[in-house]
């Protein structure tokens, strides 16, 4: 910037004015400065610029995801990017693969770079460590899962409601023995979906059979094995509700292996690409990652704009999409 000022034969402050589009620079000087900028290919250093501005914002936010490469996370990411772009804000993203340590590391790195806000799909189960950040003005929004031990905004899917709807849908088609496949119960969404499943059965006054509930399954293979075991019970399930993407895939595999994909009903939580091309097409409770991401970004920017009200907790609706697999009716054991 000094070089530009020297070349243009003006003071430092005048260059600063031009670069920041501040008013009060004569057209003649402005032209000289712009010419010098062009000639020297000068680019203002945003980091230095923000250093001196009091309460300066870096115009960056940090995004903590489960895994930037999984379809749900990356859809959230895109929705947040779009909202951020409208504001000229750049986003740092990182994956923590359900490791609490990695969450803290990532946030530590974001903090060193002085991000203005954080949108967090949390892996840890105690967010008290963010209290200082919150107090000192970092905007915080929890996404997909609420904060624990911290009073902060959150945006989550209607996990329990969606699980109730899926369970009732299966019950409505005549199923009473419905297997449940759940992710790690340390993940709040998994817990909520299980609670919804139980609640759906209770509302219909169907006794819960604990042998049909398999939790802490974290990948497709675990789900495949779990369904295999359920199917060899003396009184096997006639339908399966898979509480998550990968578990749905494992469930479909298990049913196909057993040749039962047209006999045993299946509903998955969270949509899958190509779900409509599998035979039978896979019925799902679809989440709305665009809405989740957009809402989280909106809440974050509202906080950055000075909103100081109580923590907001938004719940985004989910939608049952019947495609075939969830509409299979139970076959009598004799026929099966």
């Amino acid at each position: 910037m000094v070089d530009v000022a020297a070349l243009a034969g003006v003071g430092l402050k005048t260059v600063s004015r031009v670069v920041n589009d501040e008013p009060g620079v004569s057209p003649e000087l402005e032209a000289r400065v712009r010419r010098a900028i062009e000639q020297l290919r000068y680019r203002r250093d945003a980091n230095a610029s923000m250093l001196r501005r009091l309460g300066g914002k870096t115009q960056t936010i940090g995004l903590v995801l489960e895994d930037v490469s999984n379809p749900f996370s990356s859809a959230l990411h895109r929705a947040i990017e779009d909202a951020a772009r409208d504001r000229g804000v750049l986003v740092f993203a990182g994956s923590c693969d359900e490791h609490p340590d990695r969450e803290r590391e990532l946030i530590g790195s974001f903090r060193e770079r002085r991000v203005d806000g954080l949108i967090i799909v949390p892996a840890s189960h105690d967010h008290g460590y963010l209290y200082d950040d919150q107090r000192t003005g970092t905007a915080l929004v929890f996404l997909d899962r609420p904060a624990v031990h911290l009073d902060a905004d959150s945006v989550v899917s209607d996990n329990r409601g969606g699980a109730i709807v899926a369970t009732e849908h299966l019950l409505g088609h005549g199923h009473t023995r419905i297997g449940f496949l759940g992710d790690l119960l340390t993940i709040s969404t998994a817990k909520e979906r299980l609670a919804g499943y139980r609640q759906g059965l209770e509302l219909a006054r169907i006794a819960v059979d604990e042998r049909l509930i398999r939790t802490d399954l974290h990948d497709a293979d675990a789900a495949l094995a779990a369904v295999g075991e359920m199917l060899s019970l003396p009184d096997p399930p006639t339908a399966v509700f898979a509480g998550q993407n990968l578990l749905t895939i494992g469930g479909v595999h298990a049913l196909r292996n057993a040749g039962l994909q047209r006999r045993v009903a299946l509903i998955g939580f969270d949509d899958l690409s190509l779900a409509d091309m599998v035979d039978p097409a896979i019925s799902v409770v679809a989440q709305d990652p665009q809405a989740l991401g957009r809402s989280a970004a909106e809440l974050l920017f509202r906080r950055l704009d000075g909103e100081t009200g109580e923590a907001v907790h938004q719940v985004v609706p989910v939608t049952l999409i019947p495609r075939g697999s969830g509409e299979i009716v139970p076959t009598s054991p004799a026929v099966a």
Copy 2:
């Protein structure tokens, strides 16, 4: 940092030494400084820190993708994130949706934040505007598509080779009328894949029928329509080679709509999740996004470590995965 120094009763420089793990601080003073840091919850400002360091690195890189939410882009992203994490480097990511303007905007924002390097899946067709960045020390790697009008490292898939393999695979199963679905020809990968298709036919001395080549298709619907039209030709294709993910999906839809999914062969370029559960399972030429991303990051960091050799151009192999749809043999017109 002044506050910490004051509380600990030491000089500024001593705090700086402790924070940066520099040697030569007595254990006693170090303990006092650490206590003060703890008490004041001090966090060093990485942006300010880097400002004074000469040739200071921000330990950030910028990643320009087609779309953070598409599976191919996000797999690249994850591979790059992992490599960056090993070095304590944070990544800014952004989507440009094939808009050259957006590519320049994004890179402009990254430049203002003084990223150390850029990994770019380019949307524009002239990268001369990056010459100054390159000269002033920004490391540059082009990913998935090479740079145009700029001599820079690149990592791309073996697009032409993969297309030849796919075409020869179909020829080997007796097909001579093979439809080609291609993305916008402004995208180099689309051009290469088309070239590979032509080359495969030529090697087998099969005349190319231009009516079987449809390019500039950018989404599933366009591919669906294109296949519909091909099928109503007097001499329709007995196989289809889809040059990209979404086009594969559109192609499958079109064949199913026509009830021909078991009659007309199909191979897609780039793998799809659930491809093995569709009936028939979808044969593909799979790319290796992990290897692409990892290699790009390695090249980038090698440049950042001072490597000044000629621009490197890596080609990552692709793999044909036969799953069923690509192994269908042509039915005689009479039977069809």
